[in-house]
Protein backbone atom coordinates (compact mmCIF):
# COMPACT_ATOMS: atom_id res chain seq x y z
CA UNK A 1 0.00 0.00 0.00
CA UNK A 2 2.73 2.42 0.86
CA UNK A 3 5.17 3.78 -1.60
CA UNK A 4 8.47 5.49 -1.10
CA UNK A 5 7.59 9.14 -0.94
CA UNK A 6 8.40 12.04 -3.07
CA UNK A 7 9.67 15.52 -2.36
CA UNK A 8 8.33 18.61 -4.05
CA UNK A 9 10.48 21.64 -4.75
CA UNK A 10 8.96 24.86 -5.93
CA UNK A 11 11.50 27.35 -7.24
CA UNK A 12 11.00 31.04 -8.09
CA UNK A 13 7.39 30.50 -9.05
CA UNK A 14 5.39 33.41 -10.45
CA UNK A 15 1.86 33.35 -11.74
CA UNK A 16 0.21 36.37 -13.32
CA UNK A 17 -3.37 36.13 -14.59
CA UNK A 18 -4.29 38.27 -17.57
CA UNK A 19 -4.03 38.63 -21.31
CA UNK A 20 -0.26 39.15 -21.57
CA UNK A 21 1.31 37.95 -18.32
CA UNK A 22 4.86 37.56 -19.70
CA UNK A 23 5.07 41.32 -20.14
CA UNK A 24 4.91 41.92 -16.43
CA UNK A 25 7.13 39.19 -15.00
CA UNK A 26 10.23 41.31 -14.78
CA UNK A 27 8.30 44.24 -13.32
CA UNK A 28 6.89 41.94 -10.64
CA UNK A 29 10.33 40.48 -10.00
CA UNK A 30 11.52 44.04 -9.47
CA UNK A 31 8.91 44.62 -6.84
CA UNK A 32 5.68 45.75 -8.50
CA UNK A 33 2.86 45.12 -6.04
CA UNK A 34 -0.34 43.17 -6.60
CA UNK A 35 -2.37 46.37 -6.26
CA UNK A 36 -0.31 48.27 -8.80
CA UNK A 37 -0.35 45.40 -11.28
CA UNK A 38 -4.11 45.16 -10.92
CA UNK A 39 -4.96 48.85 -10.95
CA UNK A 40 -2.71 50.12 -13.69
CA UNK A 41 -2.22 47.07 -15.89
CA UNK A 42 -5.36 45.01 -15.36
CA UNK A 43 -3.47 41.82 -14.51
CA UNK A 44 -3.84 39.78 -11.35
CA UNK A 45 -0.80 38.71 -9.42
CA UNK A 46 -1.63 35.14 -8.41
CA UNK A 47 1.72 33.98 -7.03
CA UNK A 48 4.79 36.05 -6.31
CA UNK A 49 8.23 34.51 -5.92
CA UNK A 50 7.25 31.24 -4.27
CA UNK A 51 10.03 29.01 -2.98
CA UNK A 52 9.06 25.96 -0.95
CA UNK A 53 10.77 22.67 -0.30
CA UNK A 54 8.17 20.12 0.68
CA UNK A 55 9.94 17.17 2.26
CA UNK A 56 8.96 13.63 1.32
CA UNK A 57 6.45 11.85 3.53
CA UNK A 58 5.33 14.94 5.44
CA UNK A 59 2.21 17.05 5.59
CA UNK A 60 2.84 20.47 4.13
CA UNK A 61 0.12 22.93 4.99
CA UNK A 62 -0.47 26.06 2.92
CA UNK A 63 -2.54 28.59 4.77
CA UNK A 64 -3.94 31.98 3.89
CA UNK A 65 -7.16 33.94 3.61
CA UNK A 66 -9.46 33.57 0.68
CA UNK A 67 -7.87 34.94 -2.48
CA UNK A 68 -4.32 34.64 -1.18
CA UNK A 69 -3.36 32.19 -3.94
CA UNK A 70 -3.60 28.81 -2.19
CA UNK A 71 -5.63 27.08 -4.88
CA UNK A 72 -3.42 28.58 -7.55
CA UNK A 73 -0.34 27.24 -5.81
CA UNK A 74 -1.57 23.68 -5.31
CA UNK A 75 -2.74 23.49 -8.92
CA UNK A 76 0.76 24.17 -10.12
CA UNK A 77 1.99 20.95 -8.56
CA UNK A 78 -0.01 18.80 -10.97
CA UNK A 79 0.03 21.57 -13.55
CA UNK A 80 -3.67 22.20 -13.72
CA UNK A 81 -2.39 25.76 -13.96
CA UNK A 82 0.61 26.78 -16.05
CA UNK A 83 3.07 29.09 -14.29
CA UNK A 84 4.20 32.36 -15.79
CA UNK A 85 7.74 31.62 -14.66
CA UNK A 86 9.57 29.27 -12.33
CA UNK A 87 10.00 25.54 -11.87
CA UNK A 88 8.43 22.67 -9.97
CA UNK A 89 10.63 19.68 -9.29
CA UNK A 90 9.14 16.41 -8.15
CA UNK A 91 11.89 14.03 -7.15
CA UNK A 92 14.18 16.13 -9.30
CA UNK A 93 11.90 15.95 -12.35
CA UNK A 94 10.55 19.23 -13.71
CA UNK A 95 6.80 19.00 -14.11
CA UNK A 96 6.87 21.89 -16.54
CA UNK A 97 9.01 20.06 -19.04
CA UNK A 98 6.60 17.18 -19.43
CA UNK A 99 4.69 16.90 -22.69
CA UNK A 100 0.97 16.22 -22.71
CA UNK A 101 1.33 12.45 -22.52
CA UNK A 102 3.97 12.47 -19.79
CA UNK A 103 1.86 14.90 -17.80
CA UNK A 104 -1.17 12.62 -18.09
CA UNK A 105 0.86 9.64 -16.92
CA UNK A 106 2.29 11.71 -14.08
CA UNK A 107 -1.19 12.72 -12.95
CA UNK A 108 -2.46 9.16 -13.20
CA UNK A 109 0.36 7.57 -11.26
CA UNK A 110 2.03 10.13 -9.02
CA UNK A 111 -0.62 12.51 -7.77
CA UNK A 112 -4.14 12.35 -6.43
CA UNK A 113 -6.33 15.28 -5.51
CA UNK A 114 -9.14 15.97 -3.04
CA UNK A 115 -11.42 18.94 -3.67
CA UNK A 116 -13.21 21.43 -1.49
CA UNK A 117 -16.64 20.71 -2.92
CA UNK A 118 -15.78 17.01 -3.31
CA UNK A 119 -16.02 16.97 -7.14
CA UNK A 120 -17.55 13.51 -7.21
CA UNK A 121 -19.29 12.18 -10.29
CA UNK A 122 -22.96 12.38 -9.32
CA UNK A 123 -24.09 9.70 -11.78
CA UNK A 124 -21.75 7.10 -10.35
CA UNK A 125 -22.09 5.06 -7.19
CA UNK A 126 -19.58 5.35 -4.37
CA UNK A 127 -17.54 2.39 -5.54
CA UNK A 128 -17.51 3.64 -9.14
CA UNK A 129 -16.35 7.02 -7.92
CA UNK A 130 -13.63 5.50 -5.80
CA UNK A 131 -12.28 3.43 -8.69
CA UNK A 132 -12.43 6.35 -11.13
CA UNK A 133 -8.69 6.96 -11.12
CA UNK A 134 -7.95 3.26 -11.57
CA UNK A 135 -10.42 3.03 -14.42
CA UNK A 136 -8.76 5.98 -16.16
CA UNK A 137 -5.44 4.22 -15.79
CA UNK A 138 -6.86 1.08 -17.35
CA UNK A 139 -6.62 -1.13 -14.27
CA UNK A 140 -8.59 -4.32 -14.72
CA UNK A 141 -12.12 -4.01 -13.33
CA UNK A 142 -12.03 -6.76 -10.73
CA UNK A 143 -8.76 -5.57 -9.28
CA UNK A 144 -9.89 -1.96 -9.26
CA UNK A 145 -13.02 -2.97 -7.38
CA UNK A 146 -10.99 -4.89 -4.84
CA UNK A 147 -8.72 -1.92 -4.20
CA UNK A 148 -11.69 0.42 -4.09
CA UNK A 149 -13.55 -1.71 -1.57
CA UNK A 150 -10.51 -1.81 0.67
CA UNK A 151 -10.32 1.97 0.78
CA UNK A 152 -14.05 2.38 1.19
CA UNK A 153 -13.74 0.23 4.26
CA UNK A 154 -10.70 2.15 5.43
CA UNK A 155 -12.47 5.50 5.35
CA UNK A 156 -15.46 4.06 7.18
CA UNK A 157 -17.98 3.79 4.35
CA UNK A 158 -18.51 0.06 4.41
CA UNK A 159 -22.03 -0.73 3.23
CA UNK A 160 -22.40 2.50 1.29
CA UNK A 161 -20.58 1.36 -1.84
CA UNK A 162 -23.73 1.21 -3.98
CA UNK A 163 -25.15 4.54 -2.88
CA UNK A 164 -24.99 7.68 -4.96
CA UNK A 165 -23.17 10.80 -3.75
CA UNK A 166 -26.39 12.79 -3.39
CA UNK A 167 -27.57 10.25 -0.84
CA UNK A 168 -24.61 10.96 1.45
CA UNK A 169 -23.84 13.76 3.90
CA UNK A 170 -21.01 16.18 3.17
CA UNK A 171 -18.62 14.40 5.49
CA UNK A 172 -19.36 11.06 3.88
CA UNK A 173 -18.96 12.52 0.41
CA UNK A 174 -15.54 13.79 1.32
CA UNK A 175 -14.65 10.33 2.61
CA UNK A 176 -15.48 9.12 -0.89
CA UNK A 177 -13.23 11.85 -2.27
CA UNK A 178 -10.45 10.71 0.03
CA UNK A 179 -10.95 7.03 -0.83
CA UNK A 180 -10.82 7.93 -4.53
CA UNK A 181 -7.52 9.69 -3.97
CA UNK A 182 -6.03 6.92 -1.84
CA UNK A 183 -7.06 4.18 -4.28
CA UNK A 184 -4.74 5.77 -6.78
CA UNK A 185 -1.79 4.81 -4.60
CA UNK A 186 0.01 7.98 -5.62
CA UNK A 187 2.86 9.26 -3.49
CA UNK A 188 1.59 12.84 -3.60
CA UNK A 189 -1.77 13.77 -2.15
CA UNK A 190 -3.10 17.24 -2.95
CA UNK A 191 -5.91 18.47 -0.73
CA UNK A 192 -7.40 21.85 -1.60
CA UNK A 193 -9.45 23.00 1.40
CA UNK A 194 -10.66 19.43 1.54
CA UNK A 195 -12.34 19.91 4.90
CA UNK A 196 -13.41 23.54 4.68
CA UNK A 197 -16.97 22.69 3.65
CA UNK A 198 -17.53 20.35 6.61
CA UNK A 199 -19.04 20.96 10.04
CA UNK A 200 -16.46 21.51 12.80
CA UNK A 201 -17.00 18.16 14.53
CA UNK A 202 -16.85 16.17 11.32
CA UNK A 203 -13.85 18.17 10.31
CA UNK A 204 -12.01 17.13 13.46
CA UNK A 205 -12.88 13.48 12.75
CA UNK A 206 -11.56 13.78 9.24
CA UNK A 207 -8.34 15.37 10.52
CA UNK A 208 -7.85 12.51 12.95
CA UNK A 209 -8.44 10.00 10.18
CA UNK A 210 -5.93 11.73 7.95
CA UNK A 211 -3.29 11.74 10.70
CA UNK A 212 -3.91 8.05 11.38
CA UNK A 213 -3.65 7.16 7.73
CA UNK A 214 -0.54 9.24 7.32
CA UNK A 215 1.26 7.39 10.13
CA UNK A 216 0.98 4.32 7.97
CA UNK A 217 1.10 5.73 4.42
CA UNK A 218 3.79 8.41 4.74
CA UNK A 219 2.65 10.23 1.64
CA UNK A 220 3.75 13.69 0.69
CA UNK A 221 0.59 15.61 1.46
CA UNK A 222 -0.05 19.19 0.46
CA UNK A 223 -2.96 20.40 2.56
CA UNK A 224 -4.59 23.74 1.89
CA UNK A 225 -6.65 25.45 4.56
CA UNK A 226 -7.71 28.85 5.76
CA UNK A 227 -8.21 27.53 9.27
CA UNK A 228 -5.27 28.02 11.65
CA UNK A 229 -6.32 25.27 14.07
CA UNK A 230 -6.41 22.82 11.21
CA UNK A 231 -3.05 24.03 9.95
CA UNK A 232 -1.43 23.67 13.38
CA UNK A 233 -2.94 20.28 13.96
CA UNK A 234 -1.99 18.72 10.63
CA UNK A 235 1.06 20.56 9.39
CA UNK A 236 4.56 19.22 9.79
CA UNK A 237 5.39 22.37 7.92
CA UNK A 238 3.28 25.43 7.37
CA UNK A 239 3.52 28.09 4.70
CA UNK A 240 1.48 31.26 5.11
CA UNK A 241 0.45 33.09 1.97
CA UNK A 242 -0.82 36.59 1.57
CA UNK A 243 -1.61 38.27 -1.75
CA UNK A 244 0.32 35.55 -3.53
CA UNK A 245 3.50 35.93 -1.48
CA UNK A 246 4.91 33.76 1.28
CA UNK A 247 5.12 35.66 4.52
CA UNK A 248 6.24 32.87 6.81
CA UNK A 249 7.36 29.25 6.60
CA UNK A 250 8.02 26.97 9.53
CA UNK A 251 6.43 24.51 11.91
CA UNK A 252 3.60 25.26 14.32
CA UNK A 253 6.03 26.36 17.06
CA UNK A 254 7.72 28.89 14.79
CA UNK A 255 4.43 30.40 13.73
CA UNK A 256 3.00 30.63 17.24
CA UNK A 257 6.12 31.76 19.03
CA UNK A 258 7.81 33.84 16.34
CA UNK A 259 5.10 35.27 14.05
CA UNK A 260 6.71 37.11 11.16
CA UNK A 261 4.42 40.12 11.10
CA UNK A 262 1.18 41.69 12.30
CA UNK A 263 -0.87 39.81 9.71
CA UNK A 264 0.17 36.53 11.26
CA UNK A 265 -0.17 37.92 14.76
CA UNK A 266 -3.80 38.70 13.99
CA UNK A 267 -4.21 35.22 12.59
CA UNK A 268 -2.91 33.48 15.71
CA UNK A 269 -4.54 35.80 18.21
CA UNK A 270 -7.47 33.53 19.02
CA UNK A 271 -5.87 30.15 18.73
CA UNK A 272 -5.63 27.83 21.71
CA UNK A 273 -1.90 28.22 22.25
CA UNK A 274 -1.74 25.74 25.11
CA UNK A 275 -2.83 22.96 22.80
CA UNK A 276 -0.30 23.59 20.05
CA UNK A 277 2.83 24.91 21.73
CA UNK A 278 5.07 22.12 22.92
CA UNK A 279 7.26 22.04 25.97
CA UNK A 280 10.30 21.64 23.74
CA UNK A 281 9.79 25.14 22.39
CA UNK A 282 9.85 26.86 25.78
CA UNK A 283 12.13 24.68 27.92
CA UNK A 284 15.54 25.80 29.17
CA UNK A 285 18.76 23.83 29.12
CA UNK A 286 19.23 21.45 32.05
CA UNK A 287 20.65 23.19 35.11
CA UNK A 288 23.77 21.66 36.73
CA UNK A 289 21.74 19.96 39.40
CA UNK A 290 18.46 18.62 38.30
CA UNK A 291 15.71 19.22 40.81
CA UNK A 292 14.89 16.00 42.56
CA UNK A 293 11.42 14.58 42.38
CA UNK A 294 10.43 16.83 39.48
CA UNK A 295 7.74 15.27 37.29
CA UNK A 296 8.86 14.06 33.89
CA UNK A 297 7.29 15.11 30.63
CA UNK A 298 7.87 13.43 27.32
CA UNK A 299 9.26 15.65 24.53
CA UNK A 300 6.38 16.85 22.35
CA UNK A 301 3.95 17.29 25.24
CA UNK A 302 1.67 20.29 24.79
CA UNK A 303 1.70 23.12 27.33
CA UNK A 304 -1.92 22.27 28.14
CA UNK A 305 -0.96 18.81 29.33
CA UNK A 306 2.24 20.04 30.96
CA UNK A 307 0.35 22.58 33.09
CA UNK A 308 -2.10 19.91 34.25
CA UNK A 309 0.74 17.52 35.12
CA UNK A 310 2.60 20.19 37.06
CA UNK A 311 -0.41 21.24 39.09
CA UNK A 312 -1.32 17.63 39.77
CA UNK A 313 2.22 17.02 41.05
CA UNK A 314 2.18 20.30 42.99
CA UNK A 315 5.52 21.28 41.46
CA UNK A 316 6.88 24.40 39.80
CA UNK A 317 8.96 22.74 37.13
CA UNK A 318 9.29 19.50 35.22
CA UNK A 319 11.97 17.64 33.31
CA UNK A 320 11.50 17.19 29.60
CA UNK A 321 12.80 13.84 28.46
CA UNK A 322 13.20 12.07 25.13
CA UNK A 323 11.47 8.81 24.33
CA UNK A 324 14.17 6.83 26.12
CA UNK A 325 13.78 8.91 29.28
CA UNK A 326 17.00 10.90 29.00
CA UNK A 327 16.50 14.51 30.19
CA UNK A 328 16.57 17.20 27.48
CA UNK A 329 15.75 20.31 29.46
CA UNK A 330 13.60 21.80 32.14
CA UNK A 331 10.34 23.71 31.94
CA UNK A 332 8.68 25.80 34.62
CA UNK A 333 5.12 27.02 35.18
CA UNK A 334 6.40 30.56 34.81
CA UNK A 335 7.75 29.80 31.31
CA UNK A 336 4.54 28.09 30.39
CA UNK A 337 2.42 31.03 31.48
CA UNK A 338 4.69 33.44 29.64
CA UNK A 339 4.45 31.44 26.43
CA UNK A 340 0.67 31.30 26.69
CA UNK A 341 0.28 34.98 27.40
CA UNK A 342 2.66 36.68 25.02
CA UNK A 343 2.80 36.32 21.31
CA UNK A 344 6.53 36.69 20.93
CA UNK A 345 8.71 34.46 23.01
CA UNK A 346 12.38 34.27 22.15
Amino acid sequence: MTKSSTSIEIRDLYKIFGSAPERFVSAVKNGMSKTELGKTHGHILGLNNINITMPAGKIQVVMGLSGSGKSTLIRHINRLIEPTSGSILIDGRNVLEMNELELREFRRNNTAMVFQRFALLPHRTVIDNVTFGLEIRGVEKGRARETGMRWIERVGLHGFENRYPDELSGGMQQRVGLARALSNDASILLMDEAYSALDPLIRTDMQTMLLDLQKELKKTIVFITHDLDEALRLGDNIVILRDGSIIQQGDAQDILLRPADDYIRRFIKDVNRARFIKVDAVMEAMPKQAPKSAPRLRSGTSLEVAAVELSKAGQDSALVTDAAGAPLGIVSLRQITAALASEDVG
Binding site: R107, R108, I136
Partner: protein
Amino acid sequence: MDWLFKFPQIDPDILLSVKRAIDGSLKTLTRNYGQSIENFFYPLQQVLIFFERVISNAPWPLVVLALAAIAWFAARSVKVVVAVILMLLAIGLMGLWPDAMKTISLVLTATLFSIAIGIPLGILMNRYKRVGAIMQTVLDVMQTMPPFVYLIPVVMLLGIGRVPGFIAVVIYAIPPIIRLTDLGIRLVDKEVLEAADAYGCSRSQKLWKVQMPLAMPTIMAGINQTIMMALGMVVIASMIGVQGLGLNVLQAIANQYFTQGIFNGFAIVGIAIIFDRISQAYGHRLQKHRGARHD
Protein backbone atom coordinates in the same frame (compact mmCIF):
# COMPACT_ATOMS: atom_id res chain seq x y z
CA MET B 1 -38.20 65.47 -52.28
CA ASP B 2 -39.46 62.40 -54.02
CA TRP B 3 -36.49 60.28 -52.92
CA LEU B 4 -37.47 60.70 -49.26
CA PHE B 5 -40.75 58.85 -49.76
CA LYS B 6 -39.63 56.24 -52.18
CA PHE B 7 -36.85 54.01 -50.90
CA PRO B 8 -33.90 54.13 -53.29
CA GLN B 9 -33.90 50.73 -54.94
CA ILE B 10 -31.34 48.81 -56.93
CA ASP B 11 -32.21 48.93 -60.61
CA PRO B 12 -34.99 46.32 -61.13
CA ASP B 13 -33.18 44.99 -64.19
CA ILE B 14 -30.11 44.15 -62.10
CA LEU B 15 -32.22 42.50 -59.42
CA LEU B 16 -34.04 40.49 -62.03
CA SER B 17 -30.86 39.26 -63.63
CA VAL B 18 -29.42 38.29 -60.22
CA LYS B 19 -32.54 36.28 -59.43
CA ARG B 20 -32.45 34.69 -62.86
CA ALA B 21 -28.81 33.79 -62.51
CA ILE B 22 -29.27 32.11 -59.12
CA ASP B 23 -32.45 30.29 -60.03
CA GLY B 24 -30.97 29.35 -63.35
CA SER B 25 -27.86 27.82 -61.86
CA LEU B 26 -29.94 25.96 -59.29
CA LYS B 27 -32.05 24.57 -62.11
CA THR B 28 -28.98 23.56 -64.10
CA LEU B 29 -27.63 21.95 -60.99
CA THR B 30 -30.81 19.90 -60.58
CA ARG B 31 -30.89 19.03 -64.24
CA ASN B 32 -27.28 17.90 -64.36
CA TYR B 33 -27.00 16.31 -60.96
CA GLY B 34 -30.61 15.47 -60.20
CA GLN B 35 -30.03 11.81 -60.82
CA SER B 36 -26.91 11.60 -58.68
CA ILE B 37 -28.59 13.56 -55.87
CA GLU B 38 -31.47 11.16 -55.99
CA ASN B 39 -29.06 8.22 -55.98
CA PHE B 40 -27.30 9.71 -53.01
CA PHE B 41 -30.51 9.83 -51.04
CA TYR B 42 -31.73 6.45 -52.24
CA PRO B 43 -30.51 4.56 -49.14
CA LEU B 44 -32.22 7.10 -46.93
CA GLN B 45 -35.42 6.62 -48.88
CA GLN B 46 -35.21 2.87 -48.39
CA VAL B 47 -34.68 3.29 -44.66
CA LEU B 48 -37.68 5.57 -44.40
CA ILE B 49 -39.86 3.18 -46.39
CA PHE B 50 -38.65 0.27 -44.31
CA PHE B 51 -39.52 1.99 -41.04
CA GLU B 52 -42.91 3.04 -42.28
CA ARG B 53 -43.70 -0.49 -43.49
CA VAL B 54 -42.62 -2.09 -40.26
CA ILE B 55 -44.76 0.14 -38.13
CA SER B 56 -47.73 0.26 -40.54
CA ASN B 57 -47.87 -3.46 -41.29
CA ALA B 58 -47.41 -4.61 -37.73
CA PRO B 59 -50.60 -5.80 -35.99
CA TRP B 60 -52.00 -2.89 -34.03
CA PRO B 61 -51.98 -4.61 -30.62
CA LEU B 62 -48.28 -5.21 -31.06
CA VAL B 63 -47.65 -1.52 -31.78
CA VAL B 64 -49.67 -0.50 -28.72
CA LEU B 65 -47.78 -3.01 -26.64
CA ALA B 66 -44.40 -1.89 -27.97
CA LEU B 67 -45.09 1.78 -27.27
CA ALA B 68 -46.42 0.92 -23.83
CA ALA B 69 -43.24 -1.04 -23.14
CA ILE B 70 -41.06 1.87 -24.28
CA ALA B 71 -43.09 4.15 -22.04
CA TRP B 72 -42.57 1.80 -19.12
CA PHE B 73 -38.83 1.51 -19.57
CA ALA B 74 -38.38 5.22 -20.08
CA ALA B 75 -40.67 6.47 -17.35
CA ARG B 76 -41.24 3.57 -14.93
CA SER B 77 -44.63 5.05 -14.23
CA VAL B 78 -47.98 3.29 -14.56
CA LYS B 79 -49.70 6.61 -15.13
CA VAL B 80 -47.62 7.36 -18.19
CA VAL B 81 -48.17 3.84 -19.59
CA VAL B 82 -51.94 4.07 -19.14
CA ALA B 83 -52.00 7.52 -20.75
CA VAL B 84 -50.07 6.22 -23.74
CA ILE B 85 -52.41 3.25 -24.23
CA LEU B 86 -55.55 5.37 -23.93
CA MET B 87 -54.20 7.92 -26.38
CA LEU B 88 -53.40 5.26 -28.97
CA LEU B 89 -56.78 3.59 -28.60
CA ALA B 90 -58.53 6.91 -29.06
CA ILE B 91 -56.59 7.60 -32.24
CA GLY B 92 -57.42 4.15 -33.57
CA LEU B 93 -61.12 4.42 -32.74
CA MET B 94 -61.35 7.65 -34.70
CA GLY B 95 -60.20 5.74 -37.76
CA LEU B 96 -56.84 7.44 -37.94
CA TRP B 97 -54.63 4.45 -37.17
CA PRO B 98 -52.86 4.05 -40.55
CA ASP B 99 -52.18 7.77 -40.88
CA ALA B 100 -51.03 8.02 -37.30
CA MET B 101 -48.55 5.21 -37.91
CA LYS B 102 -47.12 7.06 -40.90
CA THR B 103 -46.74 10.19 -38.83
CA ILE B 104 -45.18 8.35 -35.89
CA SER B 105 -42.77 6.63 -38.23
CA LEU B 106 -41.72 9.95 -39.76
CA VAL B 107 -41.28 11.64 -36.40
CA LEU B 108 -39.29 8.74 -34.96
CA THR B 109 -36.94 8.47 -37.92
CA ALA B 110 -36.47 12.24 -38.06
CA THR B 111 -35.71 12.28 -34.34
CA LEU B 112 -33.23 9.40 -34.51
CA PHE B 113 -31.52 11.07 -37.43
CA SER B 114 -31.43 14.39 -35.62
CA ILE B 115 -29.90 12.72 -32.56
CA ALA B 116 -27.33 10.92 -34.69
CA ILE B 117 -26.04 14.09 -36.30
CA GLY B 118 -27.12 16.67 -33.72
CA ILE B 119 -25.17 15.29 -30.76
CA PRO B 120 -21.83 15.07 -32.60
CA LEU B 121 -22.42 18.58 -33.95
CA GLY B 122 -23.14 19.81 -30.44
CA ILE B 123 -19.93 18.22 -29.19
CA LEU B 124 -17.93 19.85 -32.00
CA MET B 125 -19.59 23.14 -31.31
CA ASN B 126 -18.55 22.89 -27.69
CA ARG B 127 -15.00 21.84 -28.36
CA TYR B 128 -14.03 24.32 -31.08
CA LYS B 129 -14.89 27.92 -30.30
CA ARG B 130 -14.73 29.02 -33.94
CA VAL B 131 -17.03 26.24 -35.11
CA GLY B 132 -19.30 27.11 -32.21
CA ALA B 133 -19.59 30.76 -33.24
CA ILE B 134 -20.35 29.88 -36.85
CA MET B 135 -22.81 27.17 -35.85
CA GLN B 136 -24.57 29.55 -33.48
CA THR B 137 -25.27 31.92 -36.36
CA VAL B 138 -26.40 29.13 -38.66
CA LEU B 139 -28.75 27.81 -35.97
CA ASP B 140 -30.16 31.28 -35.36
CA VAL B 141 -30.93 31.61 -39.05
CA MET B 142 -32.41 28.11 -39.21
CA GLN B 143 -34.66 28.79 -36.27
CA THR B 144 -35.97 32.12 -37.49
CA MET B 145 -36.25 31.35 -41.20
CA PRO B 146 -39.87 30.48 -42.05
CA PRO B 147 -39.83 26.78 -42.97
CA PHE B 148 -41.62 27.48 -46.25
CA VAL B 149 -38.52 29.24 -47.51
CA TYR B 150 -36.18 26.33 -47.24
CA LEU B 151 -38.78 24.01 -48.62
CA ILE B 152 -38.11 25.71 -51.97
CA PRO B 153 -34.51 24.58 -52.58
CA VAL B 154 -35.27 21.17 -51.07
CA VAL B 155 -38.11 20.68 -53.52
CA MET B 156 -36.07 22.05 -56.40
CA LEU B 157 -33.30 19.58 -55.74
CA LEU B 158 -35.28 16.55 -54.69
CA GLY B 159 -38.79 17.08 -55.97
CA ILE B 160 -41.76 16.02 -53.95
CA GLY B 161 -41.91 12.95 -51.78
CA ARG B 162 -40.81 11.21 -48.67
CA VAL B 163 -37.14 12.20 -48.65
CA PRO B 164 -37.53 15.95 -49.15
CA GLY B 165 -40.26 15.96 -46.52
CA PHE B 166 -38.00 14.13 -44.14
CA ILE B 167 -35.12 16.50 -44.79
CA ALA B 168 -37.35 19.52 -44.22
CA VAL B 169 -38.49 18.06 -40.91
CA VAL B 170 -34.93 17.34 -39.82
CA ILE B 171 -33.72 20.85 -40.73
CA TYR B 172 -36.58 22.29 -38.73
CA ALA B 173 -36.23 20.01 -35.72
CA ILE B 174 -32.48 19.60 -35.27
CA PRO B 175 -31.42 22.97 -33.75
CA PRO B 176 -32.54 22.29 -30.15
CA ILE B 177 -30.59 19.08 -29.84
CA ILE B 178 -27.41 20.71 -31.16
CA ARG B 179 -27.80 23.69 -28.89
CA LEU B 180 -28.65 21.72 -25.78
CA THR B 181 -25.82 19.25 -26.29
CA ASP B 182 -23.43 22.19 -26.35
CA LEU B 183 -25.16 23.83 -23.39
CA GLY B 184 -25.25 20.60 -21.38
CA ILE B 185 -21.52 20.10 -21.79
CA ARG B 186 -20.88 23.72 -20.90
CA LEU B 187 -22.90 23.46 -17.71
CA VAL B 188 -20.86 20.59 -16.28
CA ASP B 189 -19.43 21.59 -12.90
CA LYS B 190 -15.95 23.09 -13.31
CA GLU B 191 -14.62 21.35 -10.23
CA VAL B 192 -15.69 17.95 -11.55
CA LEU B 193 -13.89 18.69 -14.80
CA GLU B 194 -10.84 19.67 -12.80
CA ALA B 195 -11.04 16.35 -11.00
CA ALA B 196 -11.14 14.57 -14.35
CA ASP B 197 -8.00 16.41 -15.40
CA ALA B 198 -6.31 15.86 -12.06
CA TYR B 199 -6.81 12.10 -12.38
CA GLY B 200 -5.24 12.14 -15.84
CA CYS B 201 -8.24 11.75 -18.14
CA SER B 202 -7.55 11.98 -21.83
CA ARG B 203 -9.87 14.19 -23.85
CA SER B 204 -12.08 11.33 -24.91
CA GLN B 205 -12.18 9.84 -21.41
CA LYS B 206 -13.26 13.19 -20.10
CA LEU B 207 -15.93 13.51 -22.78
CA TRP B 208 -17.44 10.05 -22.41
CA LYS B 209 -16.98 9.41 -18.72
CA VAL B 210 -17.68 12.87 -17.36
CA GLN B 211 -19.09 15.46 -19.73
CA MET B 212 -21.62 13.44 -21.70
CA PRO B 213 -23.16 11.58 -18.74
CA LEU B 214 -23.51 14.83 -16.82
CA ALA B 215 -24.91 16.64 -19.85
CA MET B 216 -27.46 13.86 -20.45
CA PRO B 217 -30.44 15.48 -18.68
CA THR B 218 -29.96 18.65 -20.72
CA ILE B 219 -29.50 16.66 -23.91
CA MET B 220 -32.71 14.81 -23.10
CA ALA B 221 -34.50 18.15 -22.87
CA GLY B 222 -33.14 18.89 -26.35
CA ILE B 223 -34.41 15.56 -27.66
CA ASN B 224 -37.81 16.33 -26.23
CA GLN B 225 -37.90 19.68 -28.02
CA THR B 226 -36.71 18.09 -31.23
CA ILE B 227 -39.56 15.57 -31.15
CA MET B 228 -42.09 18.28 -30.52
CA MET B 229 -40.78 20.40 -33.38
CA ALA B 230 -40.75 17.42 -35.75
CA LEU B 231 -44.41 16.85 -34.92
CA GLY B 232 -45.15 20.50 -35.42
CA MET B 233 -43.70 20.25 -38.88
CA VAL B 234 -45.83 17.36 -40.17
CA VAL B 235 -48.55 19.61 -41.62
CA ILE B 236 -46.08 21.77 -43.50
CA ALA B 237 -44.14 18.70 -44.65
CA SER B 238 -47.35 17.25 -46.07
CA MET B 239 -47.29 20.07 -48.59
CA ILE B 240 -44.31 18.41 -50.22
CA GLY B 241 -45.59 14.90 -50.28
CA VAL B 242 -45.39 13.51 -46.77
CA GLN B 243 -48.37 11.33 -45.95
CA GLY B 244 -50.09 10.84 -42.64
CA LEU B 245 -52.13 12.98 -40.30
CA GLY B 246 -50.55 16.17 -41.63
CA LEU B 247 -51.91 15.52 -45.11
CA ASN B 248 -55.42 15.08 -43.71
CA VAL B 249 -55.15 18.44 -42.00
CA LEU B 250 -53.93 20.02 -45.21
CA GLN B 251 -56.89 18.56 -47.13
CA ALA B 252 -59.22 19.74 -44.40
CA ILE B 253 -57.89 23.28 -44.78
CA ALA B 254 -58.20 23.18 -48.57
CA ASN B 255 -61.77 21.83 -48.48
CA GLN B 256 -62.95 23.43 -45.28
CA TYR B 257 -63.65 20.10 -43.57
CA PHE B 258 -63.74 21.42 -40.04
CA THR B 259 -64.30 18.10 -38.24
CA GLN B 260 -61.62 16.25 -40.19
CA GLY B 261 -59.24 19.03 -39.30
CA ILE B 262 -60.12 18.86 -35.61
CA PHE B 263 -59.88 15.05 -35.41
CA ASN B 264 -56.52 14.90 -37.10
CA GLY B 265 -55.32 17.86 -35.14
CA PHE B 266 -56.21 16.10 -31.92
CA ALA B 267 -54.50 12.95 -33.09
CA ILE B 268 -51.31 14.96 -33.63
CA VAL B 269 -51.71 16.47 -30.18
CA GLY B 270 -52.22 12.98 -28.76
CA ILE B 271 -49.01 11.72 -30.33
CA ALA B 272 -47.23 14.83 -29.07
CA ILE B 273 -48.43 14.12 -25.55
CA ILE B 274 -47.27 10.50 -25.76
CA PHE B 275 -43.76 11.41 -26.89
CA ASP B 276 -43.54 14.35 -24.54
CA ARG B 277 -44.50 12.32 -21.48
CA ILE B 278 -42.15 9.49 -22.36
CA SER B 279 -39.12 11.65 -23.07
CA GLN B 280 -39.71 14.00 -20.16
CA ALA B 281 -40.17 11.20 -17.69
CA TYR B 282 -36.97 9.62 -18.94
CA GLY B 283 -35.21 12.97 -18.58
CA HIS B 284 -36.37 13.30 -14.98
CA ARG B 285 -35.24 9.80 -14.20
CA LEU B 286 -31.82 10.65 -15.60
CA GLN B 287 -31.63 13.71 -13.41
CA LYS B 288 -32.15 11.76 -10.27
CA HIS B 289 -28.49 11.52 -9.38
CA ARG B 290 -27.08 14.12 -11.70
CA GLY B 291 -27.47 17.31 -9.75
CA ALA B 292 -28.93 20.46 -11.21
CA ARG B 293 -31.98 20.51 -13.42
CA HIS B 294 -32.03 22.70 -16.46
CA ASP B 295 -35.59 22.35 -17.65
